[in-house]
Each structure stands twice: as structure tokens, then as C-alpha cells.
């Protein structure tokens, strides 16, 4: 099982979302993608997309205005 970190700090919407969508294509089922973001709207649209796409999603607030969206590819 692979774990990939996607550094999107300093990237504004919708770049983190598009990057995450592209990155998950490269992964196998069961792999984990960790999207690092510091743009609060990405904290909303990245998990929203991942949940709708059927993946397992968790959000962790790692610091002030810094989040990790942890996406486990489920299909």
C-alpha cells in the first residue's frame, strides 16, 4: 500500500482540487493520498469531491490554517 503526499501549500482554488483529482488517478485501490492545503475553500471542495467519488476521507487540522485531507482510494 502506497502513501503519496501532495504539497498544495500556497496554492489557491481550484488548483489543489485539480491536482488531487489527477494524483488519485495514478494510485491503486487502497493507496492513500495526503493533500496538504492552506486555502480554506480547498478544505471544503477537496473532501466534497472525494466523498462524492466514493473514497474514504478524513480531514486533519495540522496547524493554524493548515490541513491535511487524507483520501484512501476506494474504487
Amino acid at each position: 500500500m502506497k502513501e503519496v503526499i501532495l504539497d498544495c501549500f500556497g496554492e489557491a482554488c481550484p488548483i489543489p482540487l485539480v491536482k488531487a483529482q489527477n494524483a488519485i488517478e495514478e494510485l491503486e485501490i487502497g493507496d492513500v493520498l495526503i493533500v496538504q492545503i492552506d486555502h480554506s475553500c480547498a478544505m471544503k471542495n477537496v473532501p466534497e469531491w472525494a466523498t462524492k467519488a466514493g473514497h474514504n476521507v478524513e480531514i486533519e487540522e495540522v496547524d493554524d490554517s493548515e490541513w491535511e485531507v487524507i483520501i484512501e482510494k476506494a474504487k
Binding site: G10, I15, V18, D38, H39, S40, K44, D64, S65
Partner: protein
């Protein structure tokens, strides 16, 4: 010190704090609040809500403070525009409201403990921000309004111009998104 930390830890887990200050409001909640407040704006100041027009005045005030004069500029040539400039920043509702928006946004960010000075990741971001700002500012002035004054205020005032603006902006945003993906991915 420990007591203070314990107090903040308790606040962080408090449901009411989370609901009002930490978690984002829903889009519907935001829309309802904006709509009510823009009605208040219209009722109190007598003009629909606008944002970017005030920045043109800020530019004129700065230019005049440096010794220049905009009296002959077409944009500021009407008596109304000259009056607004003469009465100054503190008598200009739109300017004061913009300051309020900035201070309010800062307050909300601090309350949610989400204040962060963000890094500039690459030169492309600077170029895009400057170019985008110039285009938006210029476009908003020759269209007599931005997405607030022309779109939001226009539609709320039942003006057809707001819908025309929105229709055009939709395609502009589509083109912008394509450029964004092309140059930033």
C-alpha cells in the same frame, strides 16, 4: 499559564464555538446573510452594495495626496464624482464598508484560529495576480461595476443589466479556469 491553556482547550471543543466561529457556514446560510445585509445597505446608504468603485476613489485620493489632479479625468468629471472626492474617505460609505469587510474578515479568521501569512510559491503566482488584478479593476470600471455592484446589486434591483453581466461573466470564468489549469498545473 496552564489554566489559560486548559481554558482555550475547553473553548476549542465547545460546540457553540465550533458552530459559530470554527466551522464554515453553509452556502445557503451565506447567501441568506448577504441578501439581508445588502438590503440593509440599500436602505441605510441609499445606494446598492458596491465594492470595487471605492478603490477607484482610493486611487484618486492617493494620486491627489501626491500632488496630482483627477479633475479633468473623464471618469471623475461628473459633479457627483467630484463631490464624493471632495467629501473625503470618512464620508464615503463604500470606502468605510470596505474597511469593515477587511477588519471583519480578519476577525473571523482570528476567531477560527486560521490566520496564516501564506507563501508565494512561484513567480507565476505574482504575474497572474498582478495581471488578474489589473484586468478585473479595469473591466469593473469600464463596466461601471464588479461582480458585486453590477452583478449582485443589478440582479437584486431587478435590473436586466445584472443578468447580462452574469451571463458574460460565466463564460469569462470558464475561459479563466481553462487558463488557470493550463498555466498552473
Amino acid at each position: 499559564m496552564n489554566q489559560l491553556k486548559a481554558g482555550f482547550d475547553r473553548l476549542r471543543d465547545n460546540e457553540i464555538y465550533k458552530q459559530w466561529f470554527k466551522n464554515p457556514f453553509t452556502y445557503v446560510m451565506g447567501a441568506v446573510l448577504l441578501s439581508i445585509l445588502q438590503i440593509v445597505t440599500l436602505a441605510v446608504s441609499g445606494a446598492p452594495w458596491g465594492v470595487s468603485g471605492a478603490f477607484a476613489n482610493w486611487g484618486a485620493w492617493i494620486y491627489e495626496a501626491l500632488g496630482g489632479s483627477v479633475a479633468k479625468w473623464y471618469y471623475f468629471s461628473t459633479t457627483g464624482a467630484q463631490n464624493t472626492l471632495e467629501q473625503g474617505f470618512l464620508n464615503h460609505p463604500d470606502s468605510l464598508r470596505n474597511v469593515g469587510i477587511i477588519v471583519g474578515a480578519l476577525f473571523a479568521t482570528l476567531m477560527a484560529s486560521q490566520f496564516k501569512i501564506k507563501i508565494i510559491k512561484n513567480k507565476k503566482q505574482i504575474i497572474a495576480a498582478v495581471l488578474g488584478g489589473l484586468l478585473m479593476g479595469y473591466g469593473a470600471r469600464i463596466a461601471f461595476g464588479c461582480n458585486i455592484g453590477a452583478l449582485y446589486g443589478g440582479i437584486a434591483s431587478l435590473s436586466l443589466s445584472g443578468w447580462v453581466f452574469g451571463f458574460a461573466m460565466f463564460f469569462g470564468a470558464m475561459a479563466g479556469s481553462k487558463l488557470l489549469v493550463k498555466f498552473f498545473m
